[in-house]
Symmetry: C2
Subunit: 504 residues, 2 copies
């Protein structure tokens, strides 16, 4: 292999080491900042070597990332109890179990907030930033791979940096990144980004070469995403959403080009984007976190003219399709740090249309994005709060029921609140859409129960609401002693349905 | 009276009418946008005349404002059932009662969001903007009085405008306002404000003179604020906060000049600002909504060098003291629209230290700012969400108990969530301070119970927490069936205290 292409400052080649050697530098109690955002661009070799080491030599480190990792790294770390504290987001099942059984700490953070917390030294210093890269330039800039995440922040705030040059990542990614340092609060200038296509920074992360402790060469693709095809319900949700956007367009509140779109990951988002393909809307823009398969479909179809994200996370087929011709997208793709992709300043300025998934929503429009039955962490809030609060339209989607109807996703009082009634503009299930803008709580309850709840639960919800209005009243009527009874019913009888509902 | 000073475009004097005539133009079903923010700069004459008219001729209108009104206008409107829908904030007791008994609608909105909703035409058009002013300039700019609030947005989005020239307001206010129009989302430039002292707009609200339907002359002072002097507990809260800021300064996370300060209104805020007077901190800046008495004390003492706000709301004594010498403050005061004083872009850029009051907080750091017992609206969320989410430090303060100890302000699960666990950095009661930054939920619970809860409730909270960890576990352990039992206890036995706690 020709390392000169990859390490263009010739002095850096002296720093090449094996992953085992790099991992050996890490000490018990240290804090690591790893590249990686939604399975894309994660540091793979050194964390894996560290896991191997920890099998023989138990140790604990704090692990900070952009978002979720691929390559089963979170799983492997959890299996050997390597992690003391993890933030700001993860999706692995084994690690989730460790979090929920109290065997490790997890901080569930707005994805735009981690870099600010690092600047403010809330967590102290990062001992090692471990960053996957395409190359390091002659002027000492680390070129990230398929994600930017918090990598720039980790490099800036780390005592030492380990770079993983991954030769399996497409070299054509170089030039697609836009790395911009906001600077300290109080001495910042406005972020000069007024269009999703704007490039405001550099193509790599500047690093003091003396801070680079080691460079590891690897050759391992990102874990592909596993895209579930749309089912009937997700298609219905997508159709409700597109009909709503058409109505907004008809009534003059949105142009045919809509507004830059953000969507969480997963099957609903994919269904919505598929739906847009055959819609009246043209020259769309995406300003989001994760660029999934469907974004590339729309780029290919000429529907989307520009996509800005924080990572490219694709299925295996799509990787094989897109990566060889990545150059074709060069003028239409930008990859930014998550504090830029998710920055309130930019989100509000551009006026995004933001689509995220709820675990459950209540009759007043509060949304739970994170906790099962109010206690068990699912994945984390991710960027949903950054977007929903500041977007032009904060839209949440969920199927109305789960577990074959034994769980209603519309409940009297959500068991955990991640997005308050103040931040939820539109709620959609397969049954319909509730436009909550400009409505008071009791007006919202009627919209949500009527349009979004499953028929199995409509009567029960109405009964709760009517009795709350009647017996307690107030601006936001609740029967607090009954508000959470549905969860008890599910625990004890396996269903949230009526029979056992009313507590004594 | 010489109207030429006040109406400098001579054609405007033809539009002078009485308040009764102006009120007669308002029709049942209309939407009004009134100036006024926290008792300051409210339109006084026309709303009062409308109330008089409604006594004989029942009618309903929607009333949008900046925030709360003075001069008992909300009270008077509520008494005659004039209001169909009110937003985004109010504090009057009579109106609160109408809201909570379902006799009128109230939308509780982030104060920075109202202007965006108007731009997006969520509520349709405003029929009349009714704006208190010092004068209208020769180039047709309305000079606001003691607040800016949403006045510019109302003028921009109203079909017609009624101006109340209030000759009782200090003429020296002219020149202190900074009116900046953000423009439509998607075609906006960055807000060019990088320092609390920056002036980025004009000193008045541009208006098409043809849109001015009438001008009413009035002579009535703002309602003075009623400042409760600090008591033992508020002083303790202030001392904990200042000790914390000193520690942050000692550890290098904050400079001696701190960061621009925002504080909600009321006695704790005043106590904190009084405490700062004798602190080590110098050259302070205020970037807040309401500028209260204590801000002027600090300006006079030379501790605060610059104050930016959305309104000047003073006690009677302070009005008498400050208003005659208002010119002395001219270089140190700016009054902005609430979407600027509360804008996420500016708050995050400047890195504010934000201090707001909680009604109650739970052991995991969720905060209720609005609802008593989860159902009855108190005042509204105001700007607390704009600030807490985006500030460098989102600090919430509350006394640990209410009703002589029969209510604990620290509870297992707040009965309404306005600020989620993701947004609360620091919680303070008279007993102490919990620094929640970088902590996972179970770590937070220990900090909050140990440092903030009243001794009367510590054991009970610990018992709830320990049993939740033991019996249910998870990332955020809760006993959902018991979570709200404290409210039931209070309802049935007049106290949240132990004896009756555990439900069967």
């Amino acid at each position: 292999m020709n390392t000169q292409d990859k390490l263009r400052n010739p002095h850096l080649s002296e720093k090449i080491v094996t992953d085992q050697i790099a991992a050996s530098w890490i000490k018990d109690g240290m804090t690591l900042g790893l590249s990686g955002f939604t399975r894309a661009g994660d540091a793979k070799a050194v964390p894996t070597a560290l896991v191997e080491r920890a099998k023989a030599e138990p140790m604990k480190v704090n692990v900070f990332t952009g978002a979720s990792l691929g390559s089963d790294i979170d799983k492997k770390m959890a299996e050997v109890d390597l992690v003391n504290k993890r933030l700001p987001f993860q999706v692995d099942k084994t690690m989730r179990n460790k979090i929920n059984t109290g065997q490790m700490w997890f901080i569930d953070q707005h994805l735009s907030h981690t870099a600010e917390a690092l600047r403010q030294e809330v967590f102290g210093e990062i001992d090692f930033a471990i960053i996957e890269a395409i190359a390091i330039t002659e002027d000492n800039r680390i070129i990230p791979t398929t994600s930017v995440g918090n990598s720039a922040a980790f490099v800036n705030h780390a005592k030492e940096v380990i770079v993983e040059i991954n030769t399996a990542q497409p070299a054509a990614l170089e030039g697609m990144h836009d790395i911009y340092e906001l600077g300290e609060q109080g001495s910042r200038v406005p972020i000069p980004l007024t269009d999703s296509s704007d490039r405001i920074g550099e193509t790599g992360i500047a690093v003091d070469p003396d801070k680079i402790r080691g460079i590891v060469f690897t050759n391992q693709e990102d874990s592909p995403s596993t895209v579930t095809p749309p089912d009937d319900d997700t298609e219905k949700i997508a159709n409700h959403l597109i009909a709503f956007l058409e109505k907004e367009n008809d009534e003059g509140r949105l142009p045919k080009t809509l507004a830059p779109l953000q969507s969480g990951i997963g099957t609903v988002a994919n269904a919505v984007f598929s739906g847009l393909k055959n819609s009246r809307f043209t020259d769309l823009e995406v300003y989001s976190e994760v660029l999934q398969d469907s974004v590339f479909d729309l780029l290919d179809a000429g529907k989307v003219k520009m996509a800005s994200g924080c990572s490219i996370t694709l299925s295996e087929d799509k990787m094989n399709d897109v990566f060889p011709r990545l150059d074709d997208y060069k003028d239409r793709l930008v990859l930014r740090a998550q504090e830029l992709s998710n920055h309130p300043e930019v989100i509000r300025r551009l006026g995004l249309i933001s689509i995220n998934t709820a675990v459950e929503a209540d009759i007043y429009g509060n949304v739970n994005s994170t906790h099962v039955q109010g206690t068990k962490m699912m994945n984390g809030i991710g960027g949903s709060g950054d977007f929903a609060r500041n977007a032009r339209l904060g839209i949440f989607v969920t199927k109305s029921i789960a577990k074959n109807g034994d769980i209603s996703s519309i409940v009297p009082f959500v068991s955990h609140v991640d997005h308050t009634e103040h931040d939820v503009d539109v709620l959609i299930t397969e049954h319909g859409l509730a436009d909550l803008r400009g409505l008071a709580p009791k007006e919202r309850a009627k919209e949500i129960i009527t349009n979004c709840a499953d028929p199995l639960y409509k009567e029960q919800l109405l009964s709760y609401f009517d009795r709350a209005v009647e017996q307690v009243g107030g601006h936001t009527p609740h029967l607090l002693q009954e508000a959470f009874a549905w969860y008890k019913n599910f625990d004890e009888h396996g269903t949230m349905r009526e029979r056992e509902l009313v507590m004594n």
